[in-house]
């Protein structure tokens, strides 16, 4: 991955391009050097041929002179002497040529000098032979001796010429050997380097081509993104702007102008020009916001009103953040037209306030009603009890019967009022949470109900409950209501058995807890063997004033379980009922 990234990087491509450029320069200089060397060796070859030729010419001059002289000596025809006389002058030209060819070779120059000396000697001997022959008394022996001497000098000349030719060819061979060695290696190297460079160029070309394709793709993608952003701005009623702080230059997106009710780019984008559109009372929000945004790195938002070109009032929200671009400071931001949201939010807030108020009124009404109703009711009860005690002798049987009915109605009314008061207390939002042992609260609840429990000969099985952060009196009330219900709706002739179980459960196992933010819940289940009810009513029984049984049969107010639910909701918990008619019910409370 790393290697691949390295290969695909632009600097790598640049690097190998530079290398291959150097390789080409190298190839060129080597080739140039070898061309020069080749030319030199050709020159040497030509010179050596020329030297050979001149030497042979020189020798043949000598030979011509010798043959001519011999011809004259035998035939006495003076015509034979012509080549002998011209030979001397003919030998000057090849000598001069030789001299010029070997100027920079001292060894050959020495050789030439001694050769020239021998040649002169030979010519002298030839001349001497002719002199001896011309003498009146020809000394035969002296002539022969001179002839023999001349032959010997001729041999020396021959060997000297051979020497010089040999030396020249030796020189040439030496040079040729060096050249061949060099030239033998060079083509391979050149070819290799050429191929390498070619490869590099092909690779670089592909790479650059690919980069270009990528660039084109990126460019297209950028165009699409830009386009969709423009559309998004249009659809989402927002616009973007940039402020290059160092140069104090602004860029407004087209939609910025549209949101202000102007044609795109119809005025110069500056802060002052924008402020023209801002509600005069809100202009300080922008200027303050800008100062703040310039100070901190976090995004800052501002809400302000804008008066559009057509005079319409709009609500704007602006979020901006300081950013850095190419070393310069840049404030980027988005303005959104939130008029619709703002209006609906205001309506919602208004409704919320109304709701809160009416809720509060209802709660206090409930509290006051139930509280204030207690007083007259208590008096009625007290006076009725006075009458039935003190004045019963003055009453007819029917009157007494009526008073019994009045008393039972009063008891029912008292239950209703007590429960209503309790419900209003559960609703009131004074939430004093304390860390308490629920086992203790359960014990207190059982203590409160002890009279009923004993009366019904009920069996209560409790478990160890946890210590939780709760509103203690409410949880105690919850236990009282649940156990009280179990006692109240017990089956005739069967002693109630009430079992309180506790465990911790995983939210994921219960569909209704799955989407809460708690992973675990405490479950407290109150199980009885009472009358039970059809499961279809499991939800309804928690409604206020909902009753399953006719009034005459049971003395329920229809409030008890509503209080339970209210209490559990106050603790952000859940309560559910499961029941089987004739077998019993289980009320499960889930507390976080």
């Amino acid at each position: 991955m790393n290697l691949r990234a390295m290969i695909s990087s632009n600097s790598f491509v640049r690097g190998i391009l530079v290398i291959s450029l150097f390789a080409l320069i190298f190839i060129f200089s080597v080739t140039y050097k070898h061309t020069i060397a080749l030319r030199e060796s050709t020159e040497i070859l030509i010179r050596s041929y020329k030297i050979q030729g001149s030497l042979e010419q020189l020798f043949s001059c000598l030979r011509d002179a010798e043959i001519g002289q011999r011809g004259y000596l035998i035939s006495r025809d003076s015509a034979f002497l012509n080549p002998y006389y011209s030979a001397r002058s003919k030998s000057i030209e090849p000598y001069m040529q030789l001299d010029s060819l070997i100027t920079n070779n001292p060894q050959q120059q020495d050789n030439l000098d001694s050769l020239w000396d021998f040649i002169n000697l030979r010519f002298a001997l030839l001349a001497h032979s002719l002199e001896l022959d011309n003498e009146p008394d020809i000394n035969k022996s002296r002539l022969d001796e001179n002839m023999v001497r001349g032959d010997k000098v001729m041999d020396k000349i021959r060997s000297q010429i051979n020497n010089m030719i040999e030396l020249e060819s030796l020189d040439f061979n030496e040079h040729q050997k060096d050249l061949t060695h060099d030239i033998y290696f060079t083509p391979n190297w050149t070819l290799f380097l050429l191929f390498f460079s070619l490869l590099v160029f092909v690779f670089s070309f592909i790479k650059i081509n690919n980069n270009l394709i990528d660039l084109k793709k990126t460019n297209e993608y950028l165009n699409v993104t830009n386009e969709s952003f423009r559309h998004a701005e249009d659809i989402g009623n927002f616009c973007s702007w940039r402020w290059f702080i160092d140069t104090n230059k602004f860029v407004f997106s087209d939609n910025q102008y549209r949101l202000l009710g102007c044609a795109p780019q119809s005025f110069e984008p500056t802060l002052e020009n924008f402020l023209e559109f801002v509600h005069p009372e809100d202009r300080h929000i922008i200027t303050d916001g800008v100062t703040l945004a310039l100070k901190k790195a976090k995004p800052t938002s501002a809400f302000f009103r804008v008066i559009r070109n057509d005079g319409e009032l709009r609500y704007f929200k602006s979020v901006s953040r300081l950013a850095a671009s190419n070393g310069g400071k840049l404030l980027i931001g988005i303005n959104s037209d939130i008029t619709e949201q703002h209006i609906s939010n205001m309506a919602l807030e208004e409704r919320n306030r109304e709701l809160e108020l009416s809720n509060k009124e209802l709660a206090s009404f409930n509290h006051i009603a139930s509280h204030d109703l207690q007083e007259p009711l208590r008096k009625i009860q007290t006076f009725v009890s006075r009458i039935t005690e003190k004045e019963s002798s003055n009453l007819s049987e029917t009157g007494k019967e009526y008073f019994i009915k009045v008393q039972s109605s009063l008891i029912h009314m008292r239950n209703l009022i007590d429960d209503l008061l309790q419900f209003s207390r559960a609703t009131k939002t004074e939430k004093k949470f304390e860390l308490v042992d629920l086992t203790l609260l359960l014990e207190n609840a059982i203590q409160e109900l002890i009279q009923d429990i004993e009366e019904k000969k009920a069996e209560i099985n409790t478990s160890q409950l946890p210590v939780l952060n709760v509103i203690p009196f409410q949880i105690q009330q919850l236990f009282i209501n649940l156990i009280g219900n179990a006692l109240k709706y017990s089956q005739q002739h069967i002693a109630p058995v009430i079992t309180i179980n506790y465990d911790v459960i995983n939210s994921d196992d219960y569909p209704f807890l799955k989407y809460t933010d708690q992973k675990k819940y405490h479950r407290i289940a109150v199980k009885d063997n009472g009358l039970g009810f059809e499961q279809q009513y499991a939800e309804d029984i928690f409604q206020l004033f909902y009753r399953l049984l006719p009034k005459a049969e049971m003395t329920g107010s229809g409030i008890g379980l509503s209080i339970c639910r209210k209490i559990v909701e106050n603790h952000k918990g859940f309560i559910f009922a499961e029941s089987n008619p004739g077998i019993g019910s289980t009320f499960s409370v889930f507390l976080p």
Binding site: R378, Q381, T382, S385
Partner: protein, 144 residues
């Protein structure tokens, strides 16, 4: 003879209260006042004759029971009178407040005349010297 004082603005309640004391076996003298201002006037006027026990309603016009309680407990001469709160409500708030301010016992006005008699008899037979509320909530609240 036990001397009992009741401060209650409700005429019916005063009547029932008197009748209840009239029917119990222990001999008592019952004096009633109609509100908190009257109560404080009465206590300040009758310096020599302080009640053995004061029954105090909380919800009264002009000066309510809670203010009276604070005032009584701040006056050296009166602070040792045992105070029994005698109220219609038994809200947690009221119970807590009166307990903290030094009331000795809290009675919620019963619905039944028989119960009332029983409670009153119980209250006046308590030996107050030994019954210090001592911030014990269970002993403080006589009935629910």
């Amino acid at each position: 003879m036990i001397y009992v004082l009741l401060a209650d603005d409700d005429e019916d309640d005063r009547l029932i209260f008197r009748e209840a004391f009239g029917e119990i076996k222990i001999k008592t003298t019952v004096k009633t006042v109609n509100d908190g201002v009257e109560l404080m006037d009465y206590l300040n006027r009758n310096e020599d004759e302080l009640p053995h026990i004061l029954f105090l309603d909380l919800n009264m016009p002009r000066k309510n029971g809670l203010d009276c309680l604070s005032e009584i407990k701040s006056i050296n001469r009166l602070k040792d009178i045992p105070v029994a709160i005698y109220s219609t409500s038994a809200s947690e708030e009221d119970i807590e407040d009166t307990l903290v301010k030094g009331a000795n016992i809290y009675i919620k006005k019963p619905n039944d005349f028989g119960t009332l008699k029983k409670i009153l008899e119980e209250v006046i037979t308590i030996n107050w010297q030994y019954h210090t509320s001592g911030l014990n909530r269970e002993a403080f609240l006589l009935n629910r």
